[in-house]
Amino acid sequence: MSQTFDDISAQLRRRHRRSARLKWISMGALGLAGLFLVLFFADMLSKGLPAFQQAYVQVELEYNEDAQRMGREAMEPEDAKIVSRSFERLIPGMLRDDPDLLGTTETRWVLANGEVDQYLKGHRSKLSETERQAVDEKVENGQVALKFNTTFFSQGDSKMPERAGIMAAAVGTVMTMLVTLAIAFPIGVMTAVYLEEFAPDNRLTQIIEININNLAAIPSILFGLLGLAIFINFFGVPRSSPLVGGMTLALMTLPVIIIATRTALRSVPDSIRHAAFGVGCSRWQVVRDHVLPLAMPGIMTGSIIGLAQAMGETAPLIIVGMVAFIPDVSASFTQAATVLPAQVFTWAGEPEQAFVEKTAGGILVLLAILIFLNATAVILRKKFERRW
């Protein structure tokens, strides 16, 4: 039986319908993913943006003798109620350091406490009715105002939400990532170079390869346990330090870098190697002068993505003690520090309402850094990528 023209065109229509359907389903999947992303960003932005503003209050400070003991004695009693304790407690120290201040007066803008801040932002606040009126009056006189929150970017963690900042966590993250990079990058790249360019293809290297692929997939908390057992308990590296955190995360990042580097090396065509061998280069010269430079963009991209992954990690860091209350910005690799995701985790557990916006604010900062890192990876790839 032969097919008629109608049969064939019906079949063709069916096939076209099918491909159109597939297209719509794929677009729907993309749309759904996009919708979730938009919802997440909208939620974080609406909750987190207020964190970048903070209530400040203008107060008259009178440095009298009582203020040497109790900071609040330097203020009017009604001011003392709305000024943050984080400022008030510093006054005795200021007077100790600079005795000339005693007996002088000064008008300055200082941090208001968290309740005033939440009240101005229209959130729940524990201020009493009379305190609210006092604040309203000061707002009209321009003595209380929301200003850009420099504290959030210049200070470490605090129990007082108005004084809490991400600086200590950001510095901790940078230091931890430096350690991770310094360990994982050279070891990872050299391992990949050996496996790809030098190692014979035998049972042993196959087993190693399978194990590396496996390592890339195991839950990150296991690396934390490994870090605790080896680095802290055996080598005595200080707990909670960026050094131990970085070393632990390096273990986690190594397989990612090795795999990315091997893929990058493999994509360099053999003709390059053959040509180099042909003019008498040694194996080492071939790798160093020809293969590695050509593979570098791929290696960098893989490393940055591995690093970004390590940056968002908290689980292994709980085990090595980096999820802790760290108000001071750490100054050395062996001093206690915390990292951005750990800071977000800590804030999420605080009972005070004002920490909700700090948590979201911290997430925004973390997201901004991750987007920056990933964008760098894309740009590197686009700029240096070579097609064969």
């Binding site: 304790r85 729940r124 999820v323 108000p327 206690a336 309402q353």
Partner: protein, 341 residues
């Protein structure tokens, strides 16, 4: 020789050795190390921050490891790598003191800082529900006595337990078994109630039902509070400070006729209350100079006193006589004996 000194490999080795050396160098330190209970953590971190701000010493490092985990780290031994203080939301056990002593931690001072209540609360869109300890136990126990026999908990609605309670489904968000709050709940509610009941033969019964009525909601009490605002039928079990922070969204149940309020908890009238403690390793006092300066600040009246800063964030102060006792113990560096427990 010269070539060796110049070689890159040599330099790398030297740098690596220097890093390792710096990492393991052990000296007296200025930074106090604290571990322990997540319930005490908010109070302790408030004091550490204050300590870092007003003294010349660095802010102590404080990790929230849970009471049991903290005591284990604390009792690992004496010296640089071990914590100086551990916080606990329960008293140290005799077995733990013995382990401490085996590891050379022989001089420990016990400091009682205040009380904490565990509340049973729901969304404030509902009417408050007064419960007895026994009713609360019957709602969450895995097996309950029916006609003198232990059977799997059959209660699905509050009115099944007692006709005077509303006809609402029982649903409870509570802490997981790793939490100190859960330990305290099992001891203060489960054991206390079941010891009174004949069917359990006078022994404490602590098994919590696993048929979906009691839901593990994770260590984070904030999550429980958030769930309650959405799931208005449900109850939650969490620390008193979270009730204080959410007065307009939550309403707590009275237990045996006592409302969870600061005074009732402090006086011991509210049945689900516990004391909070920390333990100081006196053997570190010489190597860690700020140790007792911190402890003194913690037990000062401005912190743990009536109207002190810690009260603002939910600590329930001890009666005045007990606060004095605490300060006396600290001044004496009183040594904890197994026989005290």
């Amino acid at each position: 020789m010269n070539r060796i000194l110049k070689s890159r490999a040599f330099k790398t080795t030297v740098i690596a050795a220097a890093v390792m050396g710096a990492a393991t160098a052990a000296h007296a330190r200025d930074q106090i190390r604290i571990v322990g209970s997540s319930t005490v953590y908010p109070f302790a971190s408030y004091v550490t921050e204050e300590f870092g701000a007003v003294t010349e010493y660095p802010t102590p490092v404080i990790e929230s490891t849970g009471s049991g985990g903290g005591i284990r780290l604390f009792c690992n031994g004496v010296g640089e790598g071990t914590p100086d203080i551990t916080n606990a939301s329960r008293r140290i056990k005799a077995s733990e003191v013995e382990r401490c002593e085996e590891n050379g931690v022989t001089d420990v001072t016990e400091v009682k800082i205040g009380s904490d209540g565990i509340v049973f609360a729901q969304s404030s869109t509902n009417d408050a529900m007064a419960l007895t300890l026994e009713q609360l136990f019957l709602a969450v126990a895995a097996q309950v006595p029916v006609d003198g026999e232990l059977v799997d908990n059959p209660y699905t609605n509050w009115s099944d337990i007692d006709a005077s309670l509303p006809d609402r489904e029982i649903s409870v968000y509570g802490p997981p078994s790793t939490s100190g709050t859960r330990d305290a709940f099992e001891e203060l509610v489960m054991e206390a109630a079941s010891e009174e009941m004949e069917a359990y033969g006078g022994e404490g019964y602590t098994e919590i039902r696993a048929d979906g009525v009691y839901i593990d909601a994770g260590e984070n009490d904030n999550l429980i509070v958030q769930r309650l605002t959405e799931d208005t039928e449900a109850f939650g079990i969490f620390g008193y400070s979270f009730l204080v922070e959410n007065p307009d969204t939550l309403v707590a149940s009275s237990i045996d006729g006592v409302e969870p309020e600061a005074e009732a908890i402090s006086a011991g009238d509210y049945p689900i209350a516990r004391s909070l403690w920390f333990y100081v390793k006196n053997q570190h006092a010489d190597d860690v100079p700020p140790l007792y300066e911190y402890v003194d600040m913690f037990v000062s009246e401005t912190m743990i006193g009536d109207g002190g800063y810690l009260m603002d964030i939910g600590l329930i102060p001890l009666p005045e006589a007990e606060r004095e006792q605490t300060r006396q113990k600290v001044a004496d560096r009183a040594k904890l004996q197994v026989s005290d427990l």
